[in-house]
């Protein structure tokens, strides 16, 4: 999956998206066609660094390169939502509405190649 990773490092490592010039919806990772209005022209934007948990799961049978149980969340950043594994987080304490912040952590480990990307860490109130 190296090519997929390489094509989207702007999103995965830098948290950047593409705002549709026609309707303003932000595509992240990139798309050629806006999923809200069908527009095809975009401008690069920086996504917010923090948001609130919109929904979550805790995977007790996660793939080998993750620690089980592996919590993951869809986070509402305001501008758009973003999926990410959670980190430094007690799976039993996760709640919808919980504030989290985007951090860069290891995501996948394939044949010795380590892929870094976005995870979310709970923010203390």
């Amino acid at each position: 999956m190296l090519p997929d990773y390489w094509r989207d490092t702007k999103y995965i490592l830098q948290g950047k998206g593409d705002r549709c010039k026609q309707c303003g919806y932000i595509a992240a990772p990139h798309r050629k066609i806006c999923c809200r209005c069908g527009g095809t022209e975009f401008e690069e934007v920086q996504l917010p660094e923090s948001g609130k948990v919109y929904s979550f799961i805790v995977n007790y049978y996660a793939p080998e390169d993750l620690d089980s149980p592996a919590p993951g969340a869809i986070v509402d950043l305001g501008d758009r939502k973003m999926y990410g594994l959670l980190t430094e987080c007690d799976p039993k304490q996760i709640q919808v509405g919980m504030p989290v912040r985007r951090v860069i952590r290891k995501i996948r480990d394939e044949n010795g190649y380590v892929y870094y990307g976005v995870r979310f860490r709970p923010e203390g109130e």
């Binding site: 999956m1 990773y5 999103y11 999923c35 995977n59 999926y83």
Partner: protein, 383 residues
């Protein structure tokens, strides 16, 4: 012989090369945009009703890859895999779609990524669609779990109500000689079973299985020669939305189910209140609760209450999954939908020994699934 003439009105493609800067979805989008633009500015691609996607090497992948790439939310979309013949066969199916009168405007896309290592398939580990790194860590229960957690948050649905779905379907399965499980369970057994992926315990999940099913269809003339009890197809519907969970408008409802069922009900000229028996896609307990709502059997948000009130059992006005559903019967992916049609067929003819819904006249079959639950098919039959 085709019932009516069919024309090709536009065409577009990408160059064929090693396209490392373009993803599979980018290639689909580019070919699609070229074809749409070839027709002219007055053409509105939102009017395309159905699509067929020919892709051989990527697995699993399905029709909603078109929806994800093009943004044509709601379009019916079928992935055709037939090795090298996939493209020609996809085209043939699209022609049948228009020639039959079911559709007036359809699209065929063939797309392949062969110059990169193939994305690893498998239901357990790497459900990283649409992105293998950015979306890593989900699994089939993970995807439904996102819907589940949100439904519990928005409507107060409980794990106990979810367990009641499993209890019903395991009970129904006891009467079905084709089912995987033939022993009932109690609500408490679900919470005691191992946690697989919050919010699902083992007994909230359907089992994988091996299996096959077959149905035979005929025109009215041919049907009369072979049976006095034909089961008629009254309505068909299929719809997709995008594969990215983060871009969906809501995670407490399933848009493809709502759109597909609407198309099927409209074609059949009936509503959800007319259905006597339904075989629906309970891959996880919460899925059936969502399906009660999205198929119109109860109001939005009331799915948990619906099963808690004892609805859906054989003998009630509507029997949901009298066969035991995926939770009771098992889920051999490709066979499940066809098997559901078999079940509705037997129910409507009074041949569902051991698990018969009496006087069933109208049956509904529903398959929902795929990446981020982006596809749904609903077929309505009656005797």
């Amino acid at each position: 012989m085709l019932s009516r003439k069919v024309a090709v009105i536009g065409a577009g493609a990408t160059t064929y090369a090693m396209h490392f800067t373009k993803s599979y979805y980018d290639l689909i989008a580019e070919a699609y945009l070229n074809a749409v633009r070839s027709i002219g500015p007055e053409f509105d691609p939102q009017k395309i009703q159905a699509s067929w996607l020919a892709t051989v090497m990527k697995n699993p992948i399905h029709g909603s890859a078109i929806t994800q790439a093009t943004g044509l939310i709601g379009i019916a979309s079928t992935r055709v895999e037939n090795m090298c013949v996939a493209g020609g066969d996809a085209f043939r199916n699209a022609v049948l779609g228009v020639a039959s009168g079911a559709y007036d405007l359809v699209m065929v896309i063939g797309a392949e990524k062969m110059c990169e290592p193939d994305f690893e398939a498998g239901g357990r580990a790497a459900f990283g669609w649409p992105h293998p790194v950015a979306d890593y860590g989900l699994s089939a229960p993970g995807i439904l779990g996102m819907y589940g957690t949100r439904h519990m948050y928005e409507y107060g649905t409980t794990k106990e109500q979810m367990a009641m779905v499993s209890v019903k379907n395991r009970k129904h399965a006891c009467g079905n000689k084709l089912a995987y499980f033939r022993k009932p369970i109690a609500v408490e057994d679900v919470a005691k079973s191992p946690m697989i992926c919050w919010p699902f315990n083992l007994l909230d999940c359907c089992p994988e299985a091996d299996g096959a099913s077959c149905v035979i269809l005929a025109s009215e003339q041919v049907a009369k020669k072979y049976t006095t009890k034909p089961v008629w197809v009254r309505g068909i519907g299929m719809a997709t939305d995008q594969q990215a969970l983060e871009d969906k408008l809501s995670l407490s409802e399933m848009l493809p189910v709502i759109l597909a069922s609407r198309k099927a009900y409209e074609m059949a000229g009936i509503g959800p209140e007319d259905v006597d028996v339904a075989e629906v896609h309970d891959c996880f307990s919460i899925t059936e609760i969502l399906l009660y709502e999205c198929l119109g059997f109860c109001q939005k948000g009331k799915g948990g209450q619906y099963i808690q009130d004892g609805n859906g059992y054989i003998g009630k006005k509507l029997a949901v999954n009298p066969s035991g559903g995926l939770i009771g019967k098992g889920h051999p992916l490709g066979s499940t939908g066809v098997g559901q049609i078999c079940e509705v067929f037997w129910q409507l003819r009074g041949e569902a020994e051991g698990h018969q819904q009496e006087n069933a006249k109208v049956g509904l079959q529903n398959n929902t699934g795929g990446m981020a639950f982006s596809c749904s098919a609903v077929n309505i039959l009656s005797i």
